[in-house]
Amino acid sequence: MTKKIVSILLGLTTLLALAGCDGETDVKTSGSGSTEVKTYRIGTIGPLSGDAASYGIETQRIMDYRLAEINKEYANKGAKFELVYEDGKCDGAAAAAAFQKLTDVDGIKLIIGGGCSSETLGFLPMLEDKGVVALSFLSSNPELEGKSKNFFTLSYSDSLVGAGLGSELGKYKKVDLITEQNDYNIALRKVTLDTLAKNSPDTQIVLDETFPKGSTDLRDLLAKVNASDAEAILINANPGVTTIALVKQLAEIKDFNKKIIGQVGLMGQDAIDAAPSLLEGAIVVDAPNIKNKDFEDYLKKITDAKGPLDNIGPYYAGTSLDCLNIMTSLAAKEDGDPQKVRDDLATGTFSGWIAPSYSFNGKTFVRGVGYAKYVIKNGKTVLQ
């Protein structure tokens, strides 16, 4: 009896494994003989839960809205697109599991994602083996460059932001750095320190502390920061709950008077609203802004239809849209062939919300996108 059960289980496992070996993109054909409609399924991996969930959820709202428009556009062209969402939880292990589910169970070969750099680093090694191509809207860790020829990202590299942060910190004689133990933040810290060492050797780093990922009680660390004699502090935490908790607890220290410098975590309106007095005058280095009336009107339509987009920011809203536009158009053009989609990504030139013309030129990160400096004034980020 036991042997029978084991045999059945082995058989089922083999069948499941073989199902994942299908080299074809998941393409279904439906409709009558005269109006054949091919359905292209594209997977997405992003943080739908956890500390960075606001990014994943707002990206989902953007893509859902745009997908309906794309399907209308392609209705007469015999193509239809489906997005299969998986939660990467801003974590490498969870993203790797999500990736395997998309590829082995759903048979998907084109992926938009990961969101967080941690997610992408989790499944990146599996891309080429499984013949899957991924285009990210958010991943920015400089370590991603050149790691897989099947991965591209529309985010700017953190090396640019790190250089910007290093440049701002270098204006002060003594600085503190507090960093969350997350792939994105650690990479940013490294580039910032390298920039400081290279361009501002006279700047002394008084405190360089890290704290566990997802921490929400940082009062001891902030007490140390307050007690230090630094003039400026770099807040380098993941956007979302961690940054909000950090600024709220920092605002509890009434005699805190250091200049605050931050990254994308301070761009979210939730973080600014949590401690507006503390953050007045804070400097933020982040993606360039997209100052375009059509784009702002479009985002307003999405907000009205799907919900608020308070945290993702204009640039990443733009990358989310461009990712979806590029992947769907290439999927239709190359009939879902991942290798051809990959070659198009590597060599093609694209036009979208983030720039009128951009390309990858065979690299991982999109070329020609820099960073911008903002100052928080009257509860809003103002581009400098």
């Binding site: 839960s49 500390d51 606001s54 979302g240 709950v241 220290i253 949590a274 401690a275």
Partner: protein
């Protein structure tokens, strides 16, 4: 002053852990079971408070409702664990408690969403003295911890009912140190 400030911060966190650990200990002392779903039950009580507070009810009413909600779930969980406790199957009771905790956390995630919640949108009220500071919530936590510790001491050491209570029996060495039988 930094070390004093860190001490104050640590006292607040330590008291929070103490209050939860006390519940865990009380259950373990009576049933010999580690009811590790207690954390999830406490979270459910907190979310009950949060949901009612966001709906506009007064803080005190929300507090009573939150405590009642957590108490109700705890009482219901007793029926899940009762047969294992009665049969002295401690491991099965532990596994059941763990399963209940995971299921409750998943349910709360589905109902309330994945993001953390802040009951106070802005900065917590803060008391300052001589360069030190403590939040109002932190002060109440410490007061609650001191009152709980004092009440427990009086109950288990000085009162006969507490001395004979299963939770108080392991405190016999503490009692003899203080000259009680």
């Amino acid at each position: 002053m930094l070390i004093v400030q860190i001490f104050i911060n640590s006292l607040v966190i330590g008291t929070q852990v103490l209050l939860l650990a006390a519940g865990l200990y009380l259950i373990q002392a009576v049933t010999k079971t580690y009811h590790i779903a207690l954390g999830a039950i406490a979270t459910a009580g907190a979310y009950t408070y949060y949901a009612l507070y966001e709906a506009g009810l007064s803080g005190w009413l929300c507090l009573v409702a939150g405590l009642a909600g957590a108490g109700l779930i705890c009482w219901l969980s007793f029926f899940l664990l009762r047969k294992y406790i009665n049969a002295s199957q401690d491991l099965l009771a532990l596994l059941s408690s763990l399963t209940l905790g995971v299921a409750m956390e998943a349910l709360m995630g589905i109902i309330f969403g994945p993001e953390g919640r802040f009951l106070v949108k802005g900065v917590l009220p803060v008391y300052e003295w001589a360069g030190l500071h403590i939040t109002q919530v932190g002060l109440w936590t410490i007061i609650l911890g001191v009152v709980t510790a004092a009440a427990s001491y009086v109950f288990f050491i000085s009162i006969t009912l507490g001395q004979n209570h299963p939770c108080g029996i392991p405190a016999s060495s503490l009692r003899s140190y203080h000259g009680h039988r």
